[in-house]
């Protein structure tokens, strides 16, 4: 299943979350920026972000509505699915949670600011019969919403999985993470012609299983690594989809926005193409 080759691919590049105090020290936010004003600054530079807090807490419609009101018309959010649907699943209760989630993110749908729902599955979510059945039921429950699935276990690298995602028009999240045993590898498979989705977690192999986010996501992408990705994006991935979400999760010391801006720069310069926003002025 491929997209119409004549249409351009709209790219949405941003970071996983935007409210980090340490980004003031790294220079991304001006000195003295209050947490409450960070989104105002962020949305002048990027036009998309991942909502991380929706993983910790069921989204509440009034709070999401305030976010929608605050952001410009063309700003997009990728909202993480709540942990009670991915990591702490309770038999017989999760359907109710899915309904609550739908209600919580409804303002994003109404305002057309939802890029997709990010279903981030835990490392122990292997391709077993139980988990396969659950994932199928979850995708059914959330049908009608734009969905992206991020696996953290390599047992899901299977053509049957990819074709099923393709059949359902669900995006397989490509991940850039350390090359460690059992981890889902870096792939450039596009399963949904409407949207591809890439997450840059950083390649910090030593910190990945430290249990400390500050070590796990402490990585600064080298220029050659980003160039390699820019090339793959232009030659392999972008021709396959109408839109793409690219998010940098290496938030430590402001590396995520720095790398995101560099990737935008590379895509503009090397591809000679236009991104849907004017990134040039910020590089």
């Amino acid at each position: 299943m491929t997209k119409n080759p004549s249409t351009a691919c709209n790219l949405f590049i941003g970071t996983s979350g935007y409210s980090y105090g340490e980004w003031i020290d790294s220079g991304f936010y001006p000195d003295g920026t209050h947490s409450s004003n960070m989104l105002d600054v962020y949305m002048q530079i990027f036009q998309t972000t991942e909502l991380n807090y929706t993983w910790y807490q069921m989204p509440k419609a009034p709070a999401i509505d305030r976010l929608c009101t605050k952001t410009p018309k063309n700003f997009k959010f990728a909202a993480k699915l709540t942990r009670t649907l991915t990591h702490e699943i309770k038999k017989g209760q999760w359907q109710k949670e899915a309904l609550l989630y739908r209600q919580g993110i409804d303002p994003l749908i109404q305002s057309q600011k939802l890029l997709c729902i990010l279903i981030q599955l835990p490392p122990y979510f292997e391709r077993s019969v139980n988990f396969r059945n659950y994932l199928a039921a979850l995708l059914d429950e959330l049908s009608g919403l734009p969905l992206a699935v991020e696996f953290r276990h390599d047992s899901w690298v299977n053509d049957k999985v990819f074709s099923e995602l393709e059949r359902r028009k669900v995006t397989l999240v490509s991940v850039d993470e350390p090359d460690l045993p059992d981890l889902f590898p870096r792939l450039d498979v596009v399963t949904n012609p409407d949207l591809f989705y890439i997450r840059f977690h950083g390649r910090n192999a030593r910190g990945w299983r430290s249990g400390n986010m500050q070590k796990q996501f402490d990585y600064d992408y080298a220029d050659w690594e980003l160039k390699e990705w820019a090339n793959t994006l232009q030659t392999t991935i972008m021709p396959e989809a109408q839109a793409g979400g690219i998010f940098f999760n290496n938030h430590v010391r402001g590396q995520a926005p720095k790398n995101a801006l560099r990737l935008i720069d590379l895509l503009i310069k090397e591809g000679g193409r236009q991104t849907p926003w004017t990134a040039q002025s910020f590089i």
Partner: protein, 394 residues
């Protein structure tokens, strides 16, 4: 800089601790209250009991009328404190700025300064919740906000289970639709007054200006004005700041209201604390007595010590009126606690010519007793007051 405050709240803390020991009681209405005591009141109750109309401070007899078959367990304050201390040990791994009650299951943490070390505050809160559950089988409600007030309201909103993250800048909007009684720091009289004005929601109360509030609430108006707007500049008081205390406890084998027994217990506690103070070359600048009655209620009294002291007899003399002040009820006493606070190095001008005053004589006597005890054991020498226990008073 914006602050990141985490509030961890273990709902019905005493019940949670007790049901961990007796899992069979989980899921059933349960009251923590002194059973045999006359006029006992409810100290804590499970959510199931709450649903049946039982409340903290309600007379036990009335609670029993609501549910005749309800399970009742006596409170064990020492156990709750021990668990609380264990919980705090876990939180110390993330920040030294921790504020908590002695045994109420509430912990405030300021993680503003440790974000670079441990990542976003939301993740720290979530990690602690998981750790509490795994290690102690206690499931706290948690919230993250920019100040203590908002964090506390957030946990109240989701009680008995859940979490709430109030994004910076969202404070006013978060509070607006809530009932005003959820705002901490407002007195019962404030709430009654607000109800008289038909102001039940925070958003309704906000319609009043500060000047208008002053007419009805006088000197409390600025506080109310700030609170309903989510303004709370009070810092999280570091535990180390409040830890410059020494305390001793005495649990009476039988609940008592015998004055001589209380005095004896008080003196024994003073001896214990003062001995530690002298060993550490410290003086106490303030003291506090907390009496726990057989019905679960507590009363306390506090006194500033000028000059500070570490002498048994001086402290006892000062504590006697303090005991009278704290002892306000006729209900029997189950437990007595003495706390010595504001510990500091003795700052006394040394006399050029030593005079034999009553204080110096007492200090010499105490010093001599310390030496005897060090050489021959703790019970080798006693004061008359502590000897008279069993024979004369029981």
């Amino acid at each position: 800089m914006d602050r990141s405050i985490i509030h961890l709240n273990i709902a019905d803390f005493a019940v949670a601790v007790e049901t961990n020991l007796q899992p069979a009681l989980k899921g059933y209405p349960l009251i923590i209250a002194p059973k045999g005591a006359p006029r006992a009141v409810v100290y804590d109750m499970s959510d199931e009991a709450f649903q049946q109309g039982i409340r903290k401070g309600m007379p036990l007899a009335r609670a029993r009328r609501l549910n005749k078959k309800i399970n009742i367990l006596p409170p064990s304050f020492n156990r709750y404190e021990r668990v609380m201390k264990d919980l705090l040990k876990q939180t110390f791994a993330f920040t030294p700025l921790i504020e908590s009650g002695r045994s109420d299951g509430h912990i405030f943490m300021d993680v503003t300064g440790s974000r670079r070390l441990f990542g976003p505050s939301v993740n720290v809160a979530f990690k602690l919740k998981k750790a509490f559950k795994k290690t102690f089988n206690l499931d706290p409600i948690w919230s993250v906000a920019s100040n203590k007030l908002i964090a506390k309201v957030a946990t109240r909103v989701v009680k008995p289970v859940g979490e709430y993250i109030v994004a910076p800048g969202d404070e006013k909007a978060f509070l607006a639709p809530l009932p005003i009684h959820l705002i901490p720091g407002l007195l019962k009289t404030d709430l009654t007054r607000l109800c008289e004005f038909n102001l039940f929601l925070v958003s309704q109360a906000r319609s009043l200006t500060l000047d208008q509030l002053k007419i009805a609430f006088h000197h409390r108006a600025p506080l109310i004005y700030d609170r309903i707007r989510g303004v709370d500049p009070t810092p999280v008081t570091a535990l180390c700041e409040t830890q410059s205390t020494l305390q001793a406890d005495h649990a009476f084998s039988d609940d008592t209201n015998n004055a001589a027994l209380l005095k004896k217990a008080l003196y024994l506690m003073i001896e214990k604390i003062c001995s530690t103070l002298r060993n550490r070359n410290l003086h106490s600048g303030a003291t506090k007595i907390i009496l726990s009655y057989s019905d679960g209620l507590q009363s306390a009294s506090k006194l500033k010590l000028v000059p500070s002291t570490s002498n048994d007899m001086t402290l006892f003399k000062k504590c006697l009126p303090l005991l009278d002040k704290a002892w306000t009820r006729r209900v029997r006493i189950r437990h007595m606690r003495l706390i010595c606070e504001t510990l500091s190095l003795p700052q006394m001008q040394t006399e050029l010519f030593v005079r034999n005053t009553k204080e110096t004589k007492q200090a010499d006597l105490t010093q001599a007793m310390d030496k005897i005890r060090t050489k021959f054991g703790k019970n080798s020498i006693k004061t008359g007051l502590t000897l008279m226990g069993e024979n004369n008073y029981q």
